[in-house]
Amino acid sequence: MNWEPVIGIEVHVELLTDSKMFCGCAVRFGAEPNTNVCPTCLGLPGALPVTNRAAIESIMAIGLALNCEVSERSVFHRKNYFYADLPKNYQISQFDIPVCTGGHLDIEVAGVTRRVGIERAHMEEDTGKSTHVGAGGRIHAAESTLLDFNRSGVPLVEIVSRPEIRSAEEARAYAQELRSVVVELGVSDARLEEGSMRFDANISIRPRGSSELGTKVEVKNMNSFRSLERAVEHEIARQVELVESGGAVVQETRHWDEEAGVTHSMRIKEGSSDYRYFVEPDLVPMVLNREWVQQIRETLPELPAQRRERYRDDGLAEALAGVLSAADRALRHIYEDAVAGGADPKAAANWVTGEVIGWSRREDVDSSELQLDGVALAELVGMVGEGRISSSAAKDVLDGVLRGEGSPGQVAAARDLIQISDRTSLGALVAEVLEANPKAVEGYRGGDEKVVGFLVGQLMKATQGKADPRVVDELLREQLLA
């Protein structure tokens, strides 16, 4: 039987605010344990939350970037469950009136664009961090747990996709595209390795063509895009194998084991899903009026998808547009200024995504500090196009420019890389070479084509390789036949 995977992804993104969601503690990764804590984020008796305006504006921006509806009135709820890293033993989250609902995100897999629906994006607070110590730090074998509440109360946006993802590849593409969006918005650094972006996947399978959903399994603990793709791949295969061997998928949460490359079941306590949501009485409703939403909308930067589109309109191929669009802002500006200065977009894009990036990596210079601007790149591209320098010489010229030796013209001159392509001066040289090599001339006239190459070589020697090879070839044949 032919199975269709049905995948929905929940992404948690920590916001880059200065202070936490409901208190004034600093949001800082890697601080000494329990040093960024106060009565509120430690859940001390009597402490109260007060909502961080910047966090709400960030989730509004995310919602707008994901084409969501921003609710005019939104409220926080208490999500009640006991867990050691949840200081109040309830999480301030959102339930039936999230800030953002019903959007979509376009992703590209193998050149094909697919639209993935966004169910909702809501605001909540992060938990503290548990470190399970004892046999290998593995949850199962933990002997005791160390608690650090520095992360407790960090603003967290949960973005829930519709179950419209159909492959592990798409799952990865969705997560990557979502990351590029929040990074572009500047609302999160979305560092997977630091846990500031985390994802869970809900996976089920159904016979292709069927419309109802199968039993879903939630897979957790993927900490890279690759492990997300692998985990989804593996879970789909596991379910197919299970069902085809007469078994049935059970609704459960499974833990992705990166080393072993498998998911294993997490023993879930019954009743654990009864979160007893109710409106957070310590906070008042939020009214996100249209004026405010409009203000946020006006601050939105160009998003990666829009940019790729624009680059394609410049005439760049899909792949090149993608690579350039993903490049640092500084590099993109060099390209855009060069094109504005009349450079051929394809050539400019190739220089930026090839030589320029390569040079900055080799020399370990940050792209924002490169001594190259659009004007210089346009000049360089022009010189190659007009044949004033060879493309190999152009790499030297670029190197010079990047080292601050001046404009491409100045560098080419200083490094003596300008090609001789003027016919009269080259014509004279050609005449000299023919005179000096009567045998070769004889041979040619006797029908020996090979000598042309020899003569070109002679001429290049005479000009230390600066002669424009095309012109030289032309002149030689003219004079030989004369």
Partner: protein, 108 residues
Amino acid sequence: GATPTRLYTPRAMPVEIDIAHVARLARLDLSEEELEGYKNQLGLILEHAARVQSLDVEPHVENAHPLGLFNTFREDIVLPSLDRDEVMASAPETADGYFVVPPAMEGE
């Protein structure tokens, strides 16, 4: 939400209480006897409380802050945190700046 807009149609709410499940949700490690006692008391209180189900008018006021407050935000400004030693002083068990507990059960 906490204030359904539709009118709740009154009906006798059968008060059956899975007291063990409730105690489990509330993380209260109670004996069988204690559970039985609380179950009976809850039954009586809930019988009285079920009176709320006889409300048959649609209230106009939306239950929120009595002064109609909304959008009480704080600006994104960092304030000093607590001194860790003062915090740790009230903790039952700590180790080099961490709070310490036995291994977690999974889930939730």
